[in-house]
């Protein structure tokens, strides 16, 4: 029944198909500006001050996001501009700043801005195994290794970045790499010696390197 009606309608002149341009950042949410606010933990305040320009430049210049530091509230605020190309930029910048706040370095966190599929994964030691007192301390020591070499080994083997903040562990990298790193860290927490983890990493890294 409808088909006959449309066909009758089509006999008459159809209006031109509408062309919709992609929405700009400010047009989303009806032209209102979007904000992101990232709180700054006290231990990251000084490093933020030191690395402010490195943070500010790529965000403002390349991402086209306004950024400012609210000292009183101890927060970093991000706002879209009219010429922000993509609404996801805001989120990326927010993630970038958040990663810095977790403890990653600017160079490492910068990858978040550049590469799409990078994530930050956080977990606690107690999620893996309940450790108390000295055991906990030893676990942390095992994770980092002597002079941090175990951590660096994992980072190099899996092209990730790891931050061990007391009992919290943060991993930055692609999904599969995060998985591998997480497995090694978990095995370290559970008590396997570093050598065993290394052998596993060796095998994994060779496989990872073959892939593109």
């Amino acid at each position: 029944m409808q088909s006959s009606e449309t066909s009758s309608m089509e006999v008459e002149k159809l209006p031109p198909k509408p062309k919709f341009e992609p929405l700009k950042a400010h047009e989303i949410s009806d032209g209102r500006v979007q904000f992101r606010k990232v709180s700054v933990p006290p231990h990251r305040f000084t490093p933020l001050k030191k690395a402010w320009m490195e943070i500010y430049t790529p965000i403002y210049e390349q991402m086209k996001i306004d950024i400012r530091m609210n000292l009183k509230a101890r927060k970093v605020e991000l706002k879209t501009r009219s010429d922000t190309p993509d609404i996801s930029n805001l989120q990326k910048c927010a993630d970038f700043v958040h990663a810095f706040m977790l403890g990653f370095e600017v160079n490492d966190a910068l990858a978040l801005l550049r590469v799409d599929e990078l994530y930050v994964d956080s977990f606690e030691i107690k999620d893996v195994k309940t450790l108390r007192g000295e055991h906990l301390s030893r676990a942390i020591g095992r994770l980092s290794g002597k002079g941090g070499k175990t951590k660096f080994t994992i980072e190099n083997a899996t092209t990730t970045r790891i931050v061990i903040a007391d009992t919290k562990i943060h991993i930055l990298g692609s999904f599969s790499n995060i998985k591998v790193a997480r497995d090694s860290l978990c095995s370290l927490i559970l008590g396997s010696p570093a050598g065993k983890v290394y052998s596993k990493l060796r095998a994994v890294s060779a496989r990872l390197a073959e892939r593109f």
Binding site: E105, V106, N107, D108, A109, L110, A111, L113, R114, V115, L118, G145, G148, K149, T150, F152, T153, E155, N156, A157, T159, T160, R161, L172, G173, Y198, L201, R202, S205, A206, A209, E210, R211, F212
Partner: protein, 558 residues
Amino acid sequence: MARPIDGGGLEALHRLKSTEPPQWLSPSSELSQAARIASQYLFSSLQPFCPKSPFDSLLVEGFDAEQIWQQIDLQTQPLVSNLKRELKRFEKNPEEILKLLGEELVKKAAKEKTEEVSDKEAEGFEEENGGNDGSEDFEDIGDEELGSLDEEDEEEEEEEEEEEEDEEEEEGGDAGNGGGGIEDQFLKIKELEEFMEKDEEREYGVSKKKQHNDREADDGDEEEEGSDEEEEEEDDDELGGLGVDGFEDEGTDKMEDARYEDFFAHKKKKGPKRRSEPLDGSEDSDSDDRQEDEMFLENQKKENLSTHEKELEKLHSKIQQMEKANLEPKTWTMQGEVTAAKRPKNSALEVDLDFEHNVRPVPVITEEVTASLEDLIKKRILEGHFDDVQRAPSLPSKAPKEHKELDDNKSKKGLAEIYEEEYVQKTELASAPLSTSDEQKKEASLLFKKLCLKLDALSHFHFTPKPVIEDMSVQANVPALAMEEIAPVAVSDAAMLAPEEVFAGNGDIKEETELTQAERKRRRANKKRKFKAKTAKKLAKKARNDTVLKHSHDEEAS
């Protein structure tokens, strides 16, 4: 002096003989006187026969009976031994009897009286005339035999006897003359000949020539022996009969009628008879005597056998011996397996045993051996030539695997940079993937190229193909197109790695969930085995290192 004494002596003897036995019981001077005279007479009559009698006549007056007896004894003792010797001689060569007889024939008449007297005196003076009896009986027998011979024998025999007598006389004469300068008190040719003949008789039996002589001798010997056995008499009769039968008829007729049984058959009958009779016969005589007599008889029989019969007998005895040995149980050396209990004590020492030695004999360590060993050791140490076990070097079948080394330093590049580089690799086709070892390799290859250029210049750039050096590197499974050609002629989907290079089929093919129980167990067992081997190796290495360290410490300490 002899005549009156002789007549007196004879009278005295007669008187003694006539006295009755009871008269002897009471002592009477007449009888004693008569006895003295008689004994004197006898003594003097015997005196010429005695070789060494100290007295010419018996000293009777004023002498005790004991003293008279001693004198007689002095005379008779050597006489008796002489006579015995003579007897033995006659036993051995009976022809001398004939010689004697020949001589005696002449003196026969003269001695008749003395024989009678001696016979009478035999009763009273047995001891004195023991020896005389023998010789006189001998003479009797000789006379009797001669008489019988004269009656029965033919001319042949007489001729033979005469010949024999002649021969014997000649022999006797020869013997009497002596063998020149050869003979002395030890070597007598006569005795030699006697021994020869005796031996020959023993070996081959008695020769025909001497058969009757033997028979006569046998008869004489047997009778002289004085044994009162019936067999001898029987033998005598039979032998005598044989002799009679054998030589009754003259000529070849007798030979043709002669049969085996005549010669040999009766001997077999004699055998059992002989054996049975000793058992039944006189038990007075000792068994030893009986056996000796039997042996004597057997020897007598054997002397009558021919050579062939003797050999046969020897064979038979041998066969019997062997059969007897076969029936008996064997000696322990001939029995199979013999334990120590089954053989006599220490018998194995006497026997020369031969057995196999399965083990090499223990080497005897002498000073030379040790010296030689020490020299060898010194020489080896000087040379440095030890017999150490050297591990065979394992040949590398493939190039050493390139391990991606784990870098435990903080990465200099930031994460962003790493991803940037990755992106560039992916999109741009210019640069090949470089691994850390490649840089060093590049440097090395560069140097080598420079070197090769200079060397080739030396050889005027004559082409030599480059040696193929397999290098092991991690190949990225990037489309080959990306690696090789900028402008591909044809679009190719071929990847850089061949499918077997992507996955060789080693390692776990099955998924975890697909494994069966047995396979799971096998996997676990393999893992355990590898781990154990590895830990053992590590422990050994550690132990070695520890000992080395310890030694070094010790050395430092000292």
